[in-house]
Symmetry: C2
């Protein structure tokens, strides 16, 4: 996949490396630094594995004060900084450059305060997503965003990418579940954004910072909402004769005003692979499968699943099966959660992430199949259908550079289709380097210029997570000194 250009390293910075190492040692101590090549190589890529660059240095701070000292030093010495959580980004969000320092906050993983009365928790940002829920489960609460990588991914990474997950249909994505953050600016200044109250005043900087892909500052702490665990939850499975019928059923459920916790979609290819892998009891004769989960008291669950079954009946389903017990529910979800791994067993794949307006779902599914067929590739569709967040998996052979190139072109065409249908380039994975050049398909030059000037407000010399989010050519112009001019110059 050669068409994403990575910037050449700045040789001058590399030459200064021994001095920089000494400088950082004197400020934060030797223990935090990873200097040797084997150690640094562990940070050369993230879950977007096609690109690799070994960073010149890795730092693992344990406190906000240390993060502040590191950033201040890098700012004063013209060094780029790549913030990193667990490195599970699917779009190269934490890919280093060779002349950059990786600042990894995985050691900052403590719980600072749990406040059940106000239903919030204050946490260091290096804590893993699932650990947050583990800390509060005994109190009857959970943290709602649940990306598939939740066992490994950090809250910091979730904040950078505004992560969602299967349950975001009901509970929203990261931005809806965070009340405030502590963030270190590139010059070392520590700022508090938001707080512990539901509303915010002044400009809404918190929403701006969440999803800014580590380009505006390094978040070291966050105050998150705790959601009361429901009394119970139960999924049902509906197998359909066509993808269109399944898509229409999703629209109908939502249009009826029902908000399930999750509506997951799997096409025939995905059903087959997952069933073979997990034995989840999926209907192998269905062309498309919906897993719909609702929650509440037993009485509420019964009413809601009944209403959904009524709606589904209008779309001539092949099978409708309500989970009978906890054991069956667990099996249904195990199949879905193993999906990416199961498909990974049979083929390499490129996992796309775009969104569309819900009513376009049937049309989008048809077009995605056509696009992949045109490029001579197979596709498996597994995604959060309720909010129109698609994840087509384009299957290809990574040993064939030509096929890899075709897969990437098919992916690009699919993302452009999402924009064309009124959706956007990313639902929850972010832009990173993967979709950097596609930003011009969604945004006008003026839109991009305004966004880039905001980047400049926070990071005047563009040291933080550079060469991402914005098209490289535009970034270079911006960094060459256009930064302070007014919007009309764009």
């Amino acid at each position: 996949m050669p068409h994403i250009e990575l910037p050449e390293p700045d040789v001058g910075v590399l030459r200064r490396l021994p001095i920089l190492i000494e400088g950082l040692k004197s400020r934060v101590g030797q223990d935090l630094l990873i200097v040797d090549e084997d150690g640094r190589r562990a940070y050369e890529t993230d879950a977007f594995t096609a690109y690799r660059r070994v960073p010149m240095l890795v730092v693992l701070p344990r406190t906000t004060e240390e993060v502040s000292k590191i950033l201040k030093y890098c700012h004063e010495n013209d060094v780029k900084v790549i913030p990193r959580g667990a490195g599970t980004s699917l779009c190269g969000g934490s890919l280093p450059t060779e002349d950059a320092i990786v600042l990894c906050i995985s050691k900052m993983n403590r719980v600072i305060e749990i406040d059940y009365a106000n239903r919030l928790a204050r946490l260091e940002a290096g804590i893993t997503n699932l650990q947050i829920t583990a800390e509060v489960a005994a109190g009857g609460f959970f943290y709602a965003p649940d990306p598939s990588s939740q066992l490994a991914c950090t809250l910091a990474g979730n904040l950078a990418m505004n992560s969602g997950g299967a349950h975001c249909l009901k509970y929203g994505v990261t931005t809806h579940n965070v009340l405030g953050v502590k963030m270190v600016l590139i010059d070392g200044t520590v700022v508090e954004i938001g707080g512990s109250a539901l509303e915010r005043n002044g400009y809404d900087l918190l929403s701006l910072v969440i999803g800014s892909e580590g380009q505006l500052g390094v978040i070291t702490e966050a105050t998150v909402k705790l959601v009361p665990a429901p009394e119970g939850a139960r999924p049902m499975m509906i197998g359909f004769r066509s993808p269109e019928a399944a898509g229409s059923c999703v629209s109908a459920i939502i249009a009826a005003g029902i908000i399930p916790v999750a509506i997951e979609y799997m096409d025939h290819a995905a059903i087959e692979v997952c069933e073979a892998f997990a034995g989840a009891g999926y209907p192998l004769d269905a062309e498309a499968l919906l897993i719909v989960e609702v929650e509440g008291s037993e009485a509420e669950i019964g009413i809601l699943l009944g209403r959904i079954a009524e709606i589904a009946a209008r779309f001539d389903p092949k099978t409708v099966q309500i989970s009978a017990d906890a054991e069956q529910s667990a099996r249904i979800w195990a199949g879905r959660k193993a999906a990416f791994g199961a498909i990974g067993r049979i083929s390499d794949y490129l996992c796309m992430d775009g969104t569309i307006p819900l009513a376009q779902l049937p049309h989008a599914l048809t077009r995605i199949s056509q696009i992949c067929a045109e490029y001579g590739l197979k596709v498996a569709n597994i995604f959060h259908a309720g909010d129109g967040n698609l994840h087509p998996l384009i299957l290809y052979d990574a040993n064939s550079p030509e096929e890899a190139e075709r897969a990437e072109l098919a992916g690009e065409t699919i993302l452009k289709l999402c924009v064309e249908l009124g959706g956007c380039l990313t639902g929850e994975h972010g832009v990173g380097i993967e979709k950097r050049e596609l930003m011009t398909t969604q945004f006008s030059p003026t839109d991009l210029a305004v966004q880039m000037r905001i980047k400049t407000v926070f990071d005047p010399t563009w040291r933080l997570n550079p060469a991402k989010v914005f098209p490289l050519a535009i970034t270079n112009v911006m960094r060459a000194g256009d930064a302070a001019s007014t919007p009309e110059a764009a």
Copy 2:
């Protein structure tokens, strides 16, 4: 209330007025201009009526293109612009200055598109809040944010202030219900921010623009979410022996994981006044009253109200009454909605608007009573309790400048209390001029500097809705040329 300083008009601009009028006439035509003093006087204040300034000119554009021409002309000719919807701001958000042009978009009130399949509507921003729901009610939908002024206030004003309302506990405030906007920058550039899909990519400029109080641009169109109207809804009333018991009951309902559509709180003073005015059937022997409304099917409503009654029983209530029918429900809400008017009949009042973390509710209510007693003033409390958004009404005699001053000082003390308890200065009314000088109690100089630099990105010469949101002294420094410097200079 003399302590909010209004800036002196720029005499140079006033001298150029005849030329400016001719310039605007040649660009958008005479019909859009209000030049005569009587006409302009109608725009001298908003619902924060203590301050009045007659603007030098009023323009009423009908299209985005006209807004663009007007802003471009003002930008090129160094003229300040005050964007205005219906002028219902309670914090002076649309108060003019004498050397400014009021740009009122109330004529831009058309429905552009209603799209039930995707559950969204595209509207001109001058449409009134209630009209949106009126347009889609036949289709079984509604627009969720419902400020008390919804009959008059415009979507544009809701967007500027990120308005809430009684039902925002379940459905969120404006920012949660808007998918995209068309906005005109001060130099006349028209930008589209957000779109029609649920997720957004790039930096989250939409959240930044919503709630920015007309300081970043003039929004002319918006795409809003349509929410399916519930099958039914029903309120219950719970009368308590003390404000503390009512406050604790609110916390307990929320902590139990129940999300009613609304939890409204009224203290004894408010109960008495509203009951005398509206005959809503409120319990006159209660020290505090909660109106809790839930919605759904009849079965769901029954289950939820039953659970709430069980929880309320733990707080030794004096009365628990579930509405028996639609007629009784309407009467219960009529009392609440008439509250401000009813209190206005017996006294002048200052309506405060702060938020607190929910668990602080009982403590905050006690402290608010103490603060008002210390200033020798009475207070009535009526507010959206479920999300900790307080609206103490401080009663005073507007004919006594000394008492008005005391009322304002009491209000300031209450808002500082909100910040101290971990809340913030405004829940839904905004900062405007009212709370401008209090921003330093919530934000550090660095926080404010970052916010002000973002203002500068959108409006380099600070022409849009000036002298608001930020403390006047800091604004003057900023406008004097500090705008382009980096955060560490603050």
